[in-house]
C-alpha cells in the first residue's frame, strides 16, 4: 500500500491524419527532448529527429491534401507583415 502523491493521466493529441497519430507522437517526444536539452542550451550539434520528422511529414502532408486543408502556399507569418511592430 502506498501514498498517492498526485494523479497524472497522460493524454496525447491526435493528428489531423488519423493514420499519422503514432508518427506524430514519436516525433513530438523526440523534439521535446531535443528542444529542452539541446536547442535551448545552444547545442548546435544537429537534430536527432530528422528521420522521425520526415516519416511524420510524409503522412501528415498527404492527409492535408486529402482533406483539402488550404494551407499550401500560405506565407510564414504572412498576415503579420501588415501589422505594426508591437
Amino acid at each position: 500500500l502506498f501514498y498517492l502523491y498526485y494523479l497524472f493521466i497522460y493524454f496525447s493529441m491526435n493528428s489531423v491524419g488519423e493514420a499519422c497519430t503514432d508518427l506524430k507522437r514519436e516525433y513530438d517526444q523526440c523534439f521535446n527532448r531535443w528542444f529542452a536539452e539541446k536547442f535551448l542550451k545552444g547545442d548546435r550539434n544537429g537534430d536527432p529527429c530528422t528521420e522521425t520528422f520526415r516519416k511524420y511529414q510524409r503522412c501528415v502532408q498527404k492527409a492535408i491534401k486529402d482533406k483539402d486543408i488550404p494551407i499550401d502556399g500560405v506565407e510564414f507569418m504572412g498576415p503579420n507583415k501588415d501589422k505594426p511592430e508591437s
Partner: protein, 209 residues
C-alpha cells in the same frame, strides 16, 4: 472594421520553461475544443532560430443566432495556423496565429511575444495583441462582439492550458481542475492506509522533464 485588443501579463515561470511548455500545452483540461494538432513545418535557421508552423483543428462553436445565417453544410471545424519563432539567443518567442477558414464569418489574428520579465525575476512577460474582424455586411458588430468575447474566453483557457503544461513539466501537482481531485484521492488513500495493519511504503513522486 477591425477590433484591436492587447494586454500584457507575467507568467511565473522562466522563459525556458514557458517555451518548452508552449510545445506541450495540448491537450489540457481547457482545450477540449482543440481536436488535432500537427507540426507541418520546422526549420532551424542559420542564426539558430527555430521556425515552426503548427496546424490546429478546432470545433467551431457558434451561438444559435449566428448558425442561422450560414449554410448548414458549412464545416464545423476551424483550421488554425500558428507560426512561431524561437530565438534562444535573444530569449524571445514570437507567435502569430490566425484562422484559415471561416474568415468571412470572422477573422481572428493574434500575435504573442514571450520574453524574460524585466520586473519579476524568474518570470516571463507575455505581450498579446489581437485583430478581430468580420466582413459580413449588416452583421459585423454583433459578430465582432461575439468574436471578441469568445477570443477573450479562449485566451483565458489558453493561459490556463499553458500553466497546466508548465506545472506538469516542473513536476508539481497539476493545478486547477485536477488539484481538488488529487487532494480527495490522497486523503482517501491516507485513510485507507491508517486502517490497515500492513506497513506503508511512501512512493517517490514521478519526475517529469
Amino acid at each position: 472594421m477591425v477590433k484591436y485588443f492587447c494586454n500584457s501579463t507575467d507568467i511565473r515561470s522562466t522563459w525556458d520553461h514557458v517555451v518548452s511548455a508552449f510545445w506541450q500545452r495540448y491537450p489540457n483540461p481547457f482545450s477540449t475544443h482543440v481536436l488535432t494538432e500537427d507540426v507541418v513545418y520546422r526549420e532551424v535557421t542559420a542564426d539558430h532560430r527555430l521556425l515552426s508552423r503548427r496546424l490546429l483543428m478546432k470545433t467551431n462553436r457558434l451561438p444559435r443566432w449566428a448558425e442561422h445565417f450560414f449554410p448548414s453544410g458549412m464545416s464545423r471545424s476551424v483550421y488554425i495556423i500558428e507560426d512561431s519563432i524561437v530565438d534562444p539567443v535573444n530569449r524571445s518567442l514570437t507567435t502569430y496565429t490566425w484562422n484559415l477558414n471561416h474568415t468571412t464569418l470572422m477573422s481572428v489574428e493574434e500575435r504573442c511575444v514571450f520574453q524574460d520579465s524585466l520586473e519579476q525575476p524568474a518570470s516571463t512577460q507575455l505581450k498579446r495583441e489581437a485583430w478581430i474582424s468580420s466582413s459580413i455586411y449588416g452583421f459585423s458588430r454583433p459578430i465582432q462582439e461575439f468574436g471578441l468575447a469568445r477570443f477573450k474566453s479562449n485566451q483565458v483557457k489558453a493561459m490556463k492550458g499553458l500553466e497546466y503544461a508548465l506545472s506538469n513539466l516542473q513536476g508539481e501537482t497539476p493545478q486547477r481542475l485536477l488539484r481538488d481531485t488529487v487532494k480527495d484521492a490522497s486523503e482517501k488513500a491516507k485513510e485507507a492506509a491508517k486502517t490497515l495493519a500492513s506497513a506503508t511504503v511512501p512512493q517517490k513522486p514521478q519526475q517529469y522533464v
